[in-house]
């Protein structure tokens, strides 16, 4: 009887002694799980945060154009809008606004369009001109969002006007659909000058 009592006592002591240890282990594993979840959450929220940050990166002119007609809203000072947009335009260091039309063509065409015409590597995703404009008559899959650029160089348009329009279309038509290529850094000043050449040069397929 006495012996049995002792055994019970010992066992229960053991259980009590063991309990904190097992609890600690449990807590530890819970912590690890919590940590992993938190890490997961941090990772996920960062992706969402990144998207929200990108959505929030609206400049004040984009904000002005964010209305149901998608044009400069009533009550806005359009002259001021245009003035501010003109002030953003930068020109190539050498001052040449008309560059190399062949380089310009390669910027204007997608790689697959370039290959279809010339059977070699070239083209770029940067300009994407034919998504919205027609121009080179050999390119049939051209959009009709912007005006056709066929024969653009024969119309007596000042190349500087062309340059400005590509650099920042909103300096001429506030809230225009056309991207502000230079303003957003989609094209460098030199690249824009090459596209100006593609549009104006009499040798360019645009004008031939």
């Amino acid at each position: 009887m006495k012996k049995g009592f002792l055994v019970t006592l010992l066992i229960s002591a053991g259980i009590i002694a063991c309990q904190p240890a097992s609890q600690a282990a449990k807590e530890e594993s819970q912590k690890t799980v919590a940590k992993a979840t938190a890490q997961n959450k941090a990772k996920k929220s960062s992706k969402e945060e990144k998207f929200r940050r990108a959505l929030g990166a609206q400049d004040k002119w984009q904000q002005a154009c964010s209305n149901p007609v998608q044009l400069a809203p009533e009550g806005i000072d359009v002259a001021q809008f245009i003035k501010e947009m003109k002030a953003t335009i930068k020109y190539p260091a050498d001052g040449k606004l008309v560059g190399d039309w062949k380089k310009g063509e390669s910027l204007a065409l997608l790689p697959k369009e370039y290959k279809a015409l010339y059977g070699k590597k070239g083209g770029s995703k940067k300009g994407n001109c034919y998504a919205c404009h027609c121009g080179d008559p050999r390119i049939i899959a051209c959009g009709n969002i912007g005006p056709s650029l066929r024969g653009y160089g024969n119309k007596g348009i000042d190349p500087k006007l062309t340059y400005d329009r590509i650099y920042n279309s909103w300096s001429q038509v506030p809230c225009s659909t056309m991207f502000r290529f230079g303003y957003h850094g989609l094209l460098s000043p030199e690249e824009i000058a090459d596209i100006v050449a593609y549009l104006h040069d009499p040798e360019s397929p645009i004008n031939k």
């Binding site: 996920k44 992706k47 969402e48 990144k50 998207f51 929200r52 940050r53 990108a54 959505l55 929030g56 990166a57 609206q58 984009q62 904000q63 154009c65 964010s66 209305n67 149901p68 007609v69 998608q70 995703k125 034919y130 998504a131 919205c132 899959a141 051209c142 959009g143 009709n144 969002i145 909103w170 809230c175 659909t177 991207f179 502000r180 957003h184 850094g185 989609l186």
Partner: protein, 266 residues
């Protein structure tokens, strides 16, 4: 394989018939022929609905009934607020939550889309012929609707895009040869989810919106101006509130339009 051959054949035929509009006529022609590549995917969804089991041992049918008995008409009212998950969910997020919460199947990320997309297609077909009916009863639904409207018009990113500039203002014009649809004006939501012949895939509206945002050239302003490699933020993550807000805006605009899914697109 067979499916993709069929798809390209159909794609060719449709290209000459009418390359652009996701019209019910096209669906009608195909239905008369007794084929639609999308049906295969919807069937897959039906199979998951009845047979996909996870850790709980339940299937979708355990709660929603044989052949989706209790889900008839459900899609016409989605996205809407769900008390069990405490937020507004579209069909994608609703299915994801069900899979994870009640079926016990992990439906995370791209792997989860394997189940979610066919299931969404199947669940949507259960509301065929019914009018879209978004009611905006819950305050959260109203809030998201307003947010969706704001996003619809929001010019942003390195291309100064908004949804509206292409799909309201320029609707009917072409990007290259692809005609721009007007989901709000023409109630196009009635044809979504849609099978995209060019991708050989069923797309839910989540897929569509994410694809659209890719063309915005959104960028993380923390790393300066837009750069293809450095800071291009291509797509919002799946099930993000912004996506559901836009869905709510577009689907509300389509109220009254008869659901005819899966739609069929280029």
């Amino acid at each position: 394989m067979k499916k993709s051959i069929l798809a390209s054949l159909l794609g060719g035929a449709l290209f000459f018939a009418n390359a652009e509009a996701p019209t019910p006529e096209q669906l009608k022609i195909l239905k008369e022929m007794g084929v639609s590549p999308a049906d295969v995917i919807v069937e897959e969804g039906r199979d998951y609905y009845h047979n996909l089991k996870g850790s709980t041992g339940k299937t979708c049918a355990s709660c929603h009934g044989q052949d989706g008995a209790n889900l008839v008409g459900a899609y016409a009212k989605m996205p809407r607020y769900y008390t069990d998950i405490g937020k507004v969910a579209d069909v994608d997020l609703r299915i994801k939550a069900c899979l994870e919460k009640y079926v016990g199947v992990s439906a995370k990320g791209k792997k989860g889309r394997k189940y979610i997309v066919p299931l969404a297609g199947y669940v949507a077909t259960l509301s065929n012929e019914m009018p879209i009916n978004i009611e905006l009863e819950h305050p959260e639904e109203k809030r998201l609707y307003e947010y969706g409207k704001e996003l619809w018009y929001k010019r942003v990113g390195a291309r100064d895009f908004s949804c509206a500039i292409c799909h309201d203002v320029l609707a009917g014009k072409r990007i290259r040869l692809q005609k721009l649809g007007a989901p709000v004006r023409d109630k196009l939501y009635a044809h979504w989810p849609a099978y995209r012949i060019s991708k050989d895939k069923l797309w839910t509206m989540e897929d569509r919106i994410r694809g659209c945002y890719k063309s915005f050239f959104l960028f993380d302003p923390k790393k300066g101006k837009f750069d293809f490699k450095k800071n291009w933020v291509k797509k919002p993550p799946f099930y993000m509130e912004e996506i559901i807000a836009l869905e709510l805006y577009m689907k509300k605009a389509a109220n009254g339009a008869k659901i005819e899914v899966p739609g069929l697109l280029r």
